[in-house]
């Protein structure tokens, strides 16, 4: 009997976050009188969480290395304005090209992704090679990228983007919004990286004990570099999705997204002391934040009060994490 109980308990513990999500959905469904469960609303939730969800995947990997990334929101901004400026149809681009044809979308997307990856690479380089604490290095990148976003865009939003691009954020496939598909693909890729590649396993190892990782023959610098680069890359993906959804590039975009992403990651069970976390957890964390926000919107709770509630959830999640760690030691 007690064995059964303890087994049940360990299952409950392992999937506690998932149960919390289900509980949350139930409560909100009942309180909203079923409005929450309408298909249009559910699709809306998916669309809303996709950006934070994508960012939080990279942030999760960074936190597994026992690091932190504060630059995600700013990278969203710089990528947004650069990509949008190149995709303004067909007025701005004609100035560059005689034919007046807009650039094809794909190369521009690649440019955007490379900018994000470069930002992450610089983060990783500062951290791995120059041993700058991740907090400081990414704080630097945060203001640096945000600053360039404003300089590049001269502080103005860039609108009227070509329609082929906007499909990325506004279209849907089999009834599911494209941003949700992109999030799903990113979750799968990140999951495979974490669980099934050397890169992933080494990420856990170096986050758990970097000394031991070095002795185990792991080139820790290389993998730290890779993780931050990937986080920057995912921020760029999120930026493209967001820019396409709202149909304009803005230098003020993604403000404090890094904090939401960290929150999603931590709520999803990633340990700030490193070595623990998963892509699925990050997704559930983003869903919890998204469902709550949506539910409170339906229930007409003011945005200010929502902020307060979110703070409480994050603190509770971290308390749970810390308590887990205390039990271990």
């Amino acid at each position: 009997m007690s064995r059964l109980n303890s087994k049940l308990l360990s299952i409950l513990k392992k999937y506690s976050i998932l149960f919390i999500l289900i509980g949350l959905i139930l409560v909100i469904s009942i309180l909203s009188g079923g409005v929450f469960l309408r298909i249009t609303n559910l699709l809306n939730v998916l669309r809303q969480i996709s950006v934070i969800g994508i960012i939080s995947l990279g942030v999760t990997m960074v936190i597994i290395t026992a690091g932190i990334d504060l630059s995600s929101g700013a990278i969203v901004a710089i990528v947004s304005v650069v990509v949008a400026s190149l995709l303004q149809s067909p007025t701005a681009a004609d100035r560059l090209f005689k034919g007046g044809q807009p650039w094809p979308v794909l190369p521009i997307l690649i440019i955007g992704l490379l900018i994000g990856a470069l930002g992450g690479l610089i983060n990783g380089g500062l951290i791995a090679k120059f041993k700058i604490p991740p907090f400081v290095a990414t704080l630097g990148m945060m203001t640096f990228a945000r600053g360039w976003a404003f300089i590049y865009s001269e502080g103005r939003p860039r609108g009227s983007l070509i329609p082929q691009f906007e499909i990325i954020g506004q279209g849907s496939l089999f009834g599911i919004p494209n941003p949700a598909w992109i999030l799903l693909i990113c979750v799968l890729i990140t999951h495979v990286i974490l669980k099934h590649t050397l890169w992933g396993r080494y990420t856990y190892a170096l986050g758990s004990n970097i000394q031991a990782a070095i002795v185990s023959g792991i080139n820790t610098n290389r993998y730290i570099l890779l993780v931050y680069t990937y986080a920057g890359f995912l921020s760029a993906v999120a930026s493209i999705v967001l820019t396409a959804r709202i149909g304009s590039g803005q230098p003020g975009l993604g403000m404090s997204y890094e904090l939401d992403a960290i929150a999603a990651s931590v709520i999803g069970g990633t340990s700030l002391s490193g070595g623990i976390g998963s892509a699925g957890g990050a997704l559930i964390g983003a869903l919890i934040i998204g469902v709550m926000k949506n539910g409170l919107d339906i229930l007409n709770v003011s945005a200010d009060f929502q902020q307060v509630m979110r703070a409480i959830i994050i603190v509770v999640a971290v308390i749970i994490d810390v308590r887990k760690n205390i039990k271990r030691s």
Binding site: S6, L198, Y204, N209, A212, N219, R328
Partner: protein, 504 residues
């Protein structure tokens, strides 16, 4: 007057999946030194943590000075008069000795400000009483580990502790420092303070304790007067069987030279160290703590760069700039500090075993999990690692089993040269015997082994040859037949073999 200062009766403690304490007792008389022995995982540490309020017992009674107590925190235990000197010390390095002693209960002057002079004076008094020759105004961080320990003892005394628990206090001390510590312990005894002394070291138990409680698998085996015990009896109580062949050294065929190190130097750490190693051979490295043995191994393994010297493996000169290079060249390095540079404490047993050999088991970019799984299961079986399953976080394993996990990690890389740095430190007698047996088996399989050890019996029993180091220099080399404890000790303190023999 109570007969016992501390009585713990029928203590039970459960952890997820483990019944760590199964109704154990501990009775400590005032003014005595009470030894606590047992293999790792026997429940000693858990019992002590219950005593000081770090863990709460699931069942059982604790009486302190006859009064039933239930501490909710270390703080409460401290206030009642129980102090613990931990294995890992945690002083504030930038504060003075006196400030450390009075941390949290600073003496205030009449303005409510800290009275530094009074603190210095009081601390000085306590240190003097205990005959600890340390100035209260010294900065904590400048002290040696041994000195810091003595300061902690002074702190316990200053709190009027009536029971001081010492968890392997001598693990980082030199022989002389141990003697000094024992003097202080006797001093405490005379003041009526009871000491609970946890140790793996037989010599110390016989030297300092009055009574010994032996634990095994979460149960109290027996509590006896030390004078009624013998070494053999104690070992038998600890492992539940007598160990006839504790050190299992079987004859291995010594083959060709596999490793040649010539003139290896690292500035300011060690210089000009040369030696050779053959297949099937166990090469011991003896010396005092700080002689540079570990540093030589770390450099050999590419953790730190060398300044000079050449390394040849199978006759070919190799460049080793990182552990990665070393592993590629067939080397493995079991580091001396398991927790700091060995284990991934919050990762699973599987991850801990597989991490260094993952590269060998890829399908394209992806890890072959089923292969890894079978390798890990195999390892758990071969070394009889006690773990509920492969997913168990390695932090929940006992020291001996953790060490076996690390050994498995390295064996999984199929090394030809194994460097074992203090492979039996802090593990229990049973696991020690298993490690010795494994070393013999590996040597018979033709692997070459370097054994760095500070335990004289271990190095004498297991090595085919012994290199002795002193202050970063190789003093000499002894064959198995030549080696005696005296010779090694003399060389380890800086005399060469020649001068030692002349003096005879």
């Amino acid at each position: 007057m109570n007969q016992y200062v501390l009585e713990m009766i029928g203590i039970h403690k459960h952890f997820p999946g483990v019944h760590a304490l199964k109704g154990v007792d501990l009775r400590v008389k005032p003014g005595t030194v009470h030894g606590v022995m047992g293999e790792n995982g026997a429940g000693k540490s858990t019992l002590m943590k219950v005593a000081i309020g770090l863990y709460k017992a699931d069942a059982g009674t604790i009486r302190f000075k006859g009064e039933e107590v239930s501490f909710n925190s270390i703080h409460e235990a401290l206030q009642k008069g129980i102090s613990m000197i931990h294995q890992e010390l945690s002083p504030l390095p930038y504060m003075t000795v006196a400030q450390n002693i009075f941390l949290g209960r600073e003496i205030l002057n009449r303005f409510g400000l800290i009275d530094h002079k009074a603190i210095d004076r009081e601390a000085g008094k306590i240190l003097e009483e205990l005959q600890i020759p340390i100035s209260p105004s010294r900065i904590m961080g400048e002290l040696s580990v041994a000195q810091m320990q003595l300061v902690e003892i002074a702190e316990a005394v200053s709190r009027n502790a009536e029971l001081v628990i010492m968890d392997e206090p001598t693990s980082a001390l030199t022989e002389k420092e141990v003697d000094h510590l024992f003097e202080i312990i006797r001093n405490l005894k005379n003041r009526g303070v009871a000491v609970v002394y946890i140790s793996h070291k037989m010599d110390e138990i016989f030297k300092i304790t009055d009574e010994v409680s032996v634990y095994r698998d979460g149960e109290l085996i027996d509590c006896r007067k030390t004078s009624d015990l013998t070494r053999e009896l104690l070992i038998k109580m600890m492992v539940g069987r007598s160990i006839d062949q504790f050190f299992q050294k079987s004859k291995a065929k010594i083959g060709e030279i596999i490793l040649e190190v010539e003139g290896l130097s690292r500035r300011g750490v060690f210089r000009d160290v040369s030696f050779t190693l053959r297949r099937g051979e166990i090469l011991g490295f003896a010396g005092l703590v700080g002689a540079g043995r570990t540093e030589v191994m770390e450099t050999l393994f590419g953790i730190y760069p060398k300044d000079k010297g050449t390394i040849r493996i199978k006759g070919k000169k190799v460049d080793i700039h990182s552990p990665y290079d070393a592993i590629r060249n067939g080397m493995a390095f079991l580091t001396e500090d398991r927790k700091r540079s060995g284990l991934y404490l919050n990762l699973s047993v599987r991850d801990n075993i597989a991490i260094a050999s993952l590269k060998e088991h890829l399908k394209g970019f992806l890890i072959n999990h089923s292969k890894i799984h079978s390798i890990c299961e195999q390892a758990v079986q071969t070394l009889s690692i006690k773990t509920p399953n492969l997913e168990q976080q390695v932090m929940f394993l006992s020291g001996g089993n953790q060490q076996k996990v690390l050994v498995s990690r390295w064996l999984a890389t199929s090394p030809e040269i194994l460097i074992l740095d203090e492979p039996t430190r802090g593990i229990d007698v049973g696991a020690k015997a298993e490690i010795y047996k494994l070393m013999s088996t590996l040597a018979q399989e033709g692997k070459a082994i370097i054994l760095v050890s500070s335990e004289m019996p271990e190095i004498l029993a297991m090595s085919d040859r012994i290199v002795v180091m002193h202050e970063g220099v190789k003093i000499g080399e002894l064959t198995r037949e030549e080696a005696t404890p005296e010779k090694i000790l003399h060389m380890a303190t800086g005399e060469t073999l020649a001068t030692f023999q002349e003096a005879r």
